[in-house]
């Protein structure tokens, strides 16, 4: 609460119950809760369509998608989550240059992730997995019969997640620019914490997407 007085833009006519930093944090949590429902609905739809199609009507995802590449992508996102907490830890100790380095590494992780996803998508599209079609034969050569809703649900879910990563990278770049200009100090750093919340959430969602689409 006492932090409110250190911020220059507070006009303390009355005592607000939410301080500027806790308000921002609560706002981000509320957004993330809403986002959980979006992803939850998409994954529930995926589960329903897959279960409804039965074993014959659905391509086993591992036949089309290799696990190795996405396991690497999962590892990459976990790494970028660690660099994100390290960035926050650094600025809480007042080390601005260390924070900027770790933010830069986090952004790098996000960009590589997007690059790998673009590579994966092009690969899949080349092999015939599109919104309306699935490959006649799996990428590994196994025979697959019938068309189904695997393509649309796969692209919708991974695309929606990729969009979140893209947004997160832009968000992180904005925070990095602020950081380089010396906006953040050991006392004023809740904005770094809030971008961290978003970034870890994107990681958390990928853990779920990886499990439900690639592994199961």
């Amino acid at each position: 609460m006492e932090q409110a007085t250190t911020l220059d833009h507070t006009e303390d006519v009355y005592e607000p119950s939410l301080t500027p930093d806790s308000l921002g944090k609560l706002g981000m949590w509320i957004f993330l809760i809403g986002d959980t429902m979006s992803f939850g609905a998409l994954l529930a739809a995926y589960a329903a369509l897959r279960a409804g199609a039965g074993v014959i009507g659905w391509v086993p995802p591992s036949e089309i998608l290799g696990i190795n590449l996405t396991a690497g992508m999962t590892f990459l996102l976990i790494c970028s989550s660690v660099t994100m907490v390290k960035a926050l830890e650094s600025i809480q100790k007042g080390n601005v240059s260390r924070m900027c380095t770790f933010l830069g590494l986090t952004i790098l992780g996000g960009v590589i992730f997007l690059g790998l996803q673009a590579y994966e998508w092009t690969h899949l599209i080349k092999h015939g997995l599109t919104l309306t079609d699935i490959p006649e034969h799996g990428l590994k050569g196994g025979a697959i019969s019938g068309s189904n809703l695997f393509g649309p649900t796969f692209y919708a879910i991974t695309g929606f997640h990729g969009l979140h990563v893209t947004g997160g990278v832009i968000y992180l770049i904005v925070i990095l620019i602020h950081g380089l200009r010396g906006r953040y100090t050991a006392e004023f750093n809740h904005e770094v914490e809030i971008v961290g919340l978003y970034w870890h959430f994107v990681d958390l969602i990928w853990i779920m997407v990886f499990t439900f689409i690639y592994l199961l």
Binding site: Q3, D21, S22, K25, L26, W29, L32, I33, G34, T36, M37, G40, A41, L43, A44, A47, A48, A51, G52, A53, G54, V55, I56, G57, S62, I67, A71, T74, F75, I78, C79, S81, V82, M84, V85, K86, E89, Q92, E193, G196, L197, H200, F201, D203, L204, I207, M208, F210, T211, F212, Y214, L215, L216
Partner: protein, 112 residues
């Protein structure tokens, strides 16, 4: 909101190690062919473990006020409820499929 998490930093590298090990176990569990039900339970359990680690330590949920954790868990419970609500639709659908499919394929459906 609670400021008390700021001074006690959890051991992030240890959490990272846990996440790495859990991911490796997940991949190891997913590759062999066996009952989809057991595989599903194992994988969902492992994924939930990872998600809880990320939320509790990286997002500092463990160090916030308990009410925030309660608020955050709510949508996940609603998602579980959402899947349960879809269950009747799923079973109806596969029954219809089973009627239309030739017998040989129907046997296949029940196996996995």
């Amino acid at each position: 909101m609670a400021q008390n998490g700021h001074n006690e930093h959890p051991k992030y590298m240890l959490i990272f190690l846990y996440l790495f090990i859990l991911t490796a176990i997940e991949v190891g569990v997913a590759i062999p062919e066996y009952s989809i039900v057991i595989k599903g339970i194992l994988l969902i359990g492992l994924a939930c473990g990872k998600a809880i680690l990320v939320a509790a330590y990286f997002m500092h949920l463990k160090f916030e006020k308990g009410i925030l954790a309660a608020i955050v868990i709510t949508p996940f419970l609603i998602c579980v409820f959402l899947v349960i609500m879809l269950m009747p639709d799923i079973t109806m659908d596969s029954r219809l499929n089973a009627i239309e499919k030739p017998a040989a394929e129907v046997v296949d459906t029940t196996q996995r």
